[in-house]
């Protein structure tokens, strides 16, 4: 029977949750990197034992960790003794060296003034679909970096900042590349999303990028609601079989595009509120999508204290509340943008983590839910791997 491994990043360490394919009994392993903010962990699709992790701290900065044995042991890439000395005998230790290319430039600050780009942390790691040594990293301040040597060294794909970066601005959580979607049918095409700049697409492997935000409206966030860049996109999601179809949870509004971002349309439909952070797509039904509505941008918790995932089986507009097994009173947690994932088992498993430290699993496409754990530190990210 298949095995499932859930990788959970929290504000105070990482946890690895494992179960068999029934997804009823779970082992909880951790904390790994106790006390550090673990923004994101993700396994390579071609080598599930290879897992990358973003470890960060306000005191000591950014680190990248790598496991080659499914999370049992970890090391910063390139820190084996034989790899540590450069040709001049000086230490290398560059797996956490994220340096912007060329002129650093400025972006908009909260008060409308221009502010220089400053590296703060890695929010998201997206391993290549074909090569375990190639990984993309989404950074705050917003930029995308790439490694082709398993995380030992990183290089910025600086063309992204050329896509009107001077007009981007931070959201409440900072200004970060938080979403990276790789096109399984076209290795040169990547989508990324930034709060608060919008969605961007490259067709040449990251050399040049184009804003793809037509149809987004940000009436209260931008002086021009239809601006080409500046929108606070919280998350975008794609089904691997249909890379031209993207779903978006914007600051406000749930959106969809059927032409790779050339034009978006709103599909919020009957949601109780269209504010939220995560959005994801069912593994086997490309028109089935999930969101977690949050009351509003000033009150980051579910409406009426009821934690409800909403599912649309029609690609948006028509939504149903999924409540079975979720707290329906006195619940005031949030679910962050990287804290939802689906597995590829049948039936599809859906997972999400909360700011209150609960990680929930549905082993039946969202019909019912069970907590895997209830009392972790606040959850920043959730990813899932299906193992043979």
């Amino acid at each position: 029977m298949s095995k499932v491994r859930v990788l959970v990043g929290t504000k105070k360490g990482a946890f690895i949750l494992t179960s068999d394919g029934k997804r009823e009994q779970w082992d909880v392993n951790g904390p790994h990197f106790a006390g550090w903010e673990m923004y994101h962990l993700k396994g390579s699709p071609v080598d599930p034992s290879r897992i990358y992790a973003s470890q960060t701290s306000g005191w000591f900065g950014q680190l990248i960790q790598r496991s080659d044995d499914g999370g049992k042991t970890w090391q910063p890439p390139g820190s084996n003794p034989e790899e540590l000395k450069g040709p001049d005998g000086m230490p290398k230790g560059e797996s956490n060296k994220f340096v912007y290319e060329g002129e650093v430039g400025t972006h908009k600050w909260y008060d409308g003034t221009q502010h220089p780009w400053e590296f703060k942390r890695i929010w998201h790691l997206e391993p290549s679909l074909t090569d375990p040594d190639t990984v993309y990293a989404g950074a705050e301040d917003a930029a995308i970096f790439k490694t082709v040597d398993g995380g030992k060294t990183w290089k910025e794909l600086s063309g992204l900042r050329g896509a009107k970066g001077h007009l981007w601005q931070p959201g409440a959580g900072g200004m970060a590349v938080h979403t990276i979607l790789l096109d399984s049918k076209n290795a040169n095409r990547i989508f990324i999303a930034i709060s608060a700049a919008g969605a961007f697409r490259t067709e040449d492997g990251g050399k040049t990028w184009k804003p793809v935000n037509r149809g987004l409206k940000s009436q209260y966030e931008l002086p021009d609601p239809d601006a080409e860049v500046g929108h606070c996109v919280h998350r975008i999601a794609m089904h691997p079989s249909r890379p031209d179809v993207l779903f978006m949870q914007k600051h406000w509004d749930v959106m969809r595009t059927d032409n790779a971002g050339e034009q978006w349309r709103e599909v919020s439909g009957n949601l109780p509120t269209d504010f939220g952070f995560p959005i994801d797509v069912h593994a086997h039904e490309p028109e089935t999508i999930y969101v977690v509505p949050i009351k509003n941008d000033s009150e980051h918790f579910p409406p009426d204290g009821k934690l409800r995932v909403y599912r649309s089986r029609t690609g948006g507009n028509e939504w149903e509340a999924l409540t079975k097994g979720l707290p329906q009173k006195d619940c005031y947690v949030n679910v962050l943008r990287d804290a939802m994932a689906v597995d590829s088992l049948e039936p599809c498993g859906v997972y999400f983590g909360t700011s209150g430290g609960q990680v929930y699993c549905s082993a039946n496409s969202g019909d019912s839910w069970n907590p895997i754990v209830r009392d972790l530190p606040g959850v920043l990210s959730v990813e899932v791997q299906v193992l043979p």
């Binding site: 005191w59 000591f60 680190l63 230490p91 230790g93 956490n96 340096v99």
Partner: protein
């Protein structure tokens, strides 16, 4: 030998005990101590000072002999008690909750 004390998280990262002993060639300064520390434990590069500018990270402080040396020039010689190994050089995470 120069005695260096690391904060908890950096000790775990470098997989060392609380106090290290380092051989430092030439004048003993913050810069030369950190150079020697990073040469011995490259995993610490970027965690105490910036990779490129070599500026101290804002939430890291340097204490020695009951003094805060964080704002001193990195090329200023450290007190004789540090050079002689009588007192340790303390690398500290700035006091902040969380």
């Amino acid at each position: 030998m120069i005695r260096v004390v690391l904060p908890y998280h950096l000790r775990n990262l470098a997989r060392v005990d609380a106090e290290l002993q380092l051989e430092v060639g030439g004048p003993v300064t913050v810069r030369s101590v950190l150079d020697a520390l990073e040469a011995r434990h490259p995993v610490l590069r970027g965690t105490i000072r910036d990779h490129v500018t070599l500026r101290r990270r804002p939430f890291v402080r340097f204490f020695a002999c009951k003094e805060d040396l964080s704002l001193e020039s990195p090329d200023a010689e450290l007190p004789e008690a540090i050079v002689s190994g009588t007192e340790p050089f303390l690398i500290v995470g700035a006091m902040a909750g969380g």
